[in-house]
């Protein structure tokens, strides 16, 4: 089935000749998933059913205290400076975006009156502007009204390089934000922008009040008292914050959604590790909700038998994968290893890469380690579903790997390790310390040993491995190893930024202080070109095809070896309802709607 046929179907649905359900059935029959079909329709402007909530409270509050556990605690509460999800989540209690991303990756209005679309005239046909209508009657916690001025301020604030906001990438491509009236704004982009729902949406789109931050623009941004004492529009008002420990809030009596929220107090406790967090929610029931349970599924299943809570999962785009170093990590050039001036002595050889791709037993890793928490995947780009390639396959086949290596002239030595031209086929395989990752390492190492590849394992404590400390040789961006493994994902329901992980401009090196996204240091002109095209392609179907092509290039060249497509995982008390976590947004995207069943 090609692009044209899909388009015909969509036209049929618009005209009422074909039902949404029938379309979905056809797509599923073709091996695509339900959400993919739904998103194809959404992208083509065919509206989905609005979400219906079964619980309709008649009054605000009365729910007592809500206790949630974030085993990495927030360290600051300004969403524009959020380092990682923990800070975004801490901020999300108090601040809100115009729209959140629901579990299917659709937009859910929060501070917006409605979601802009081609149909309601909100999204311009040329993809260069979008009109947002703000919800009326929204006030900040201190009583000031929320208006378009706040929107304009957030854009100016985040886009100013002197502010050093981490959200700058979402705002710098906005040419201007126009005020049409006090509650209507037009966002004008520098280029046609298919991903117009980046600025002011989701975890990176939370809006801070102009009247409290106006005096702290640019270089003074870090001095604002409100960085630690947020005043937002959210369901809970700020009470207390101890960085790295606890965030407390109380009900916002003037919240803009009637009869919400349900709880009177909110407490977010930090510290501990994922396993103890899982225990506190699933087994002992001390807490109502726990974020990001990176724990083996077997352990979670046992804890669930306690009957107090369950594991809630959301499909996102995170993928646990192995990267192959294209440069030589063992040669120092100009004070830098893995320098772009070197090439890896054997990992740049296609047969070696192909063999490694065959030596990762994805089904064993999926079934024995990740279980319900993920699924084996041949693709690097797994979500949103419309961007997932149907073309790739994976295989675990030691015999074929052996044949490929034999054919490439790698002969086994007396110790069983292959060598060619005096160079032994031995790899350093690094990752962060995490029981699941160490088990995966062991499984890969064993398969490699059977194929005559010697693997040496290395594991680095997460706070070092994922840090941006330029002085540390063990960070994942330095990549002073032959192969490495970690998990990464798009974080928003659009893969543009995510797929820049392999563009030439994003290559990390000493010259950019290892601040870049292309850590595998792979260079490919065609890939760069397709990525550039997708950036301003406004036709959703063509753009999806471009991303699928990029994914297929990565897999065919074995730039990465995807292992498991991981879900977002949270622990939820059995009495806590309507949490409905999304793989595309903060776990707290629906916090205002959470309630406890008595």
């Amino acid at each position: 089935m090609d692009e044209r046929e899909v388009r015909d179907f969509i036209t049929d649905i618009r005209a009422g000749r074909l039902s949404r359900r029938a379309f979905t059935r056809i797509m599923v029959g073709l091996g695509l998933t339900g959400p993919l079909a739904a998103q194809l329709l959404a992208a083509a402007g065919v509206a989905a059913q609005p979400k219906i909530d079964s619980f309709s409270p008649t009054r605000r509050g009365g729910g007592g205290q809500l206790k949630v556990l974030w085993w990495q605690a927030p360290t600051l509460l300004n969403p524009h400076f959020a380092l990682g999800t923990k800070d975004q989540d801490g901020s999300r209690v108090f601040y809100e975006p115009l729209a959140a991303y629901d579990p299917e990756g659709n937009l859910f209005p929060v501070l917006a009156q409605e979601i802009p679309s081609l149909e309601n005239g909100g999204v311009a046909r040329d993809g260069k502007s979008v009109i947002w209508k703000l919800k009326r009657g929204v006030t900040w916690h201190d009583g000031k009204p929320f208006t378009v001025d706040d929107l304009i301020f957030n854009w100016e604030y985040a886009a100013d390089p002197a502010t050093a906001a981490v959200t700058i990438t979402s705002y710098r491509d906005l040419e201007r934000v126009e005020k049409l009236d006090s509650h209507t704004a037009r966002l004008v982009f520098k280029n046609p922008t298919p991903f117009w729902f980046d600025a002011f949406c989701g975890a990176r789109g939370m809006i801070i009040p102009k009247h409290l931050f106006d005096a702290y623009r640019g270089a003074k941004s870090r001095e604002a008292p409100a960085n630690l004492k947020p005043v937002g529009t959210g369901p809970y008002r700020f009470v207390d914050f101890k960085p790295g420990d606890i965030v407390r809030g109380e009900i916002n009596p003037t919240y803009h959604v009637p009869n919400r929220p349900f709880f009177d107090q909110f407490e977010m406790k930090g510290g501990g590790d994922a396993a103890s967090a899982a225990r506190a929610v699933l087994q002992t029931g001390e807490y109502d909700f726990a974020w990001n349970l990176q724990v083996a599924d077997d352990v979670l299943k046992r804890l669930e038998q306690g009957g107090r809570g369950h594991v809630d999962m959301a499909i996102g785009g995170a993928v646990e994968h192995i990267q192959l170093n294209n440069t030589d990590p063992w040669k120092e050039v100009d004070g830098e290893r893995s320098s772009l001036k070197t090439t890896h002595p054997f990992l740049t050889e296609a047969p070696v890469r192909a063999a490694l791709n065959l030596l990762v037993d994805r089904s064993a890793i999926h079934e024995e380690i990740y279980g319900r928490l993920g699924q084996a995947t041949p693709n690097f780009l797994n979500g949103p579903a419309r961007f997932r390639s149907p073309n790739m396959r994976w295989e675990f086949n030691v015999e074929r790997a052996n044949q490929i290596l034999d054919g490439a002239g790698w002969r086994r030595g007396s110790d069983g390790v292959r060598a060619k031209d005096g160079r032994r086929l031995t790899l350093l395989y690094q990752t962060s310390i995490n029981p699941e990752r160490q088990k995966t390492q062991a499984i890969v190492k064993q398969a490699c040993a059977k194929a005559g590849i010697e693997v040496e394992l290395k594991s680095v404590v997460s706070s070092v491995y994922f840090s941006s400390d330029v002085g540390n040789p063990d960070t994942y961006t330095k990549f002073y190893a032959d192969i490495q493994m970690y998990s990464t994902g798009p974080g928003a329901p659009d893969p543009q930024t995510f797929m820049s992980n392999f563009t030439t401009v994003e290559i990390v090196s000493k010259s950019n202080k290892w601040q870049g996204r292309n850590i595998a240091r792979w260079r490919n002109e065609e890939y760069d070109r397709v990525w550039k095209m997708a950036e301003s392609e406004t036709d959703p179907v063509k753009r999806a095809a471009q991303f699928i092509r990029m994914n297929d290039m990565l897999i065919q060249h074995v730039v990465v070896i995807p292992i498991v497509w991981r879900n977002a995982v949270a622990g939820v008390s059995n009495r806590l309802k309507s949490t409905d976590i999304s793989g595309w947004d903060s776990n707290l995207w629906r916090l205002a709607y959470w309630y406890r069943q008595s």
Binding site: V299, R302, K439, Q441, A442, K458, S459, V464
Partner: protein, 312 residues
Amino acid sequence: MATRGASEAVFAVSAAADATPSLWLEAGRRFRRHHLAMVGSVILISMVVAVLTGPLVWRQPINEIDFKAKLKGPSWSHPLGTDDLGQDLLARMLYGGRISLAVGIAAMLIAISIGTTIGATSGFVGGKLDNTLMRITDMFLSLPGLPLLLLIVYLFRDTLRKTLGPEAGIFILIVAVIGGLRWMPVARLVRAQFLSLREKEFVEAARSLGAPAFRQMFRHLLPNSMGPVLVAATIDVAAAIIAESTLSFLGLGFPPDIPTWGRILFDAKDNLDFAPHWAIFPGTAIFLTVLSINYIGDALRDALDPRKVLGR
């Protein structure tokens, strides 16, 4: 030994050689009277024998992954059960025990030799040298252990790894670092002993009879100050085994697939409620080793301390 030293000094210096066997016989007799130490010795010796010869008898590989047998309790095919990858725990324990015990003993030897040398020199020579050495000891004591350890590991890990290979390189590094950071208490103990023994009559007697410095030191002072050192040594073995697990925990020790006892324990912690055997066996091994060594140290101190009178 103090009385023996004194009498020997009075009667004949050359007769000392003849007295030695009976000293050790006496010590052996005293040692055997310490029942817990005897039990400890038996346990420790059997552990050492087990880790040395065990892998020759129990031929299961340490890293054979078998998901069908994962998290199984003790059985005939896996006497100590399996871990969550179905790897045989007995084989891993035997292999890991070699490393853990070797790290503990080697680090202890380093700490003791540096500590004794510095302490003895300081206490015997005195004066400026004493002052300098003790200030150096103070300096080392004030260094924050873990950050320094991390720094050294970062600086030298790759060089050693390249020259000696991942396992041997890390072994030498860990042993040197742990040993090199634990000699200070020993040095202080030895110095304090020397300072007090130096003024004792039997040493004065030896000195007045013209015993040269090294003879006073090795013949009279050192043997008499060994008691506290031995106790410190036993504690060091235990501390080194535990320090190695700390390093493994931080990812700076041996590669994650080398099953040292500390590493097995770390891997087991999330499954404690479900597969307790996985943690119990390495935990017991560490516990028994440390306890045995402590009792042995205790008994050795009693045995080598002639001032302590034991009933016959």
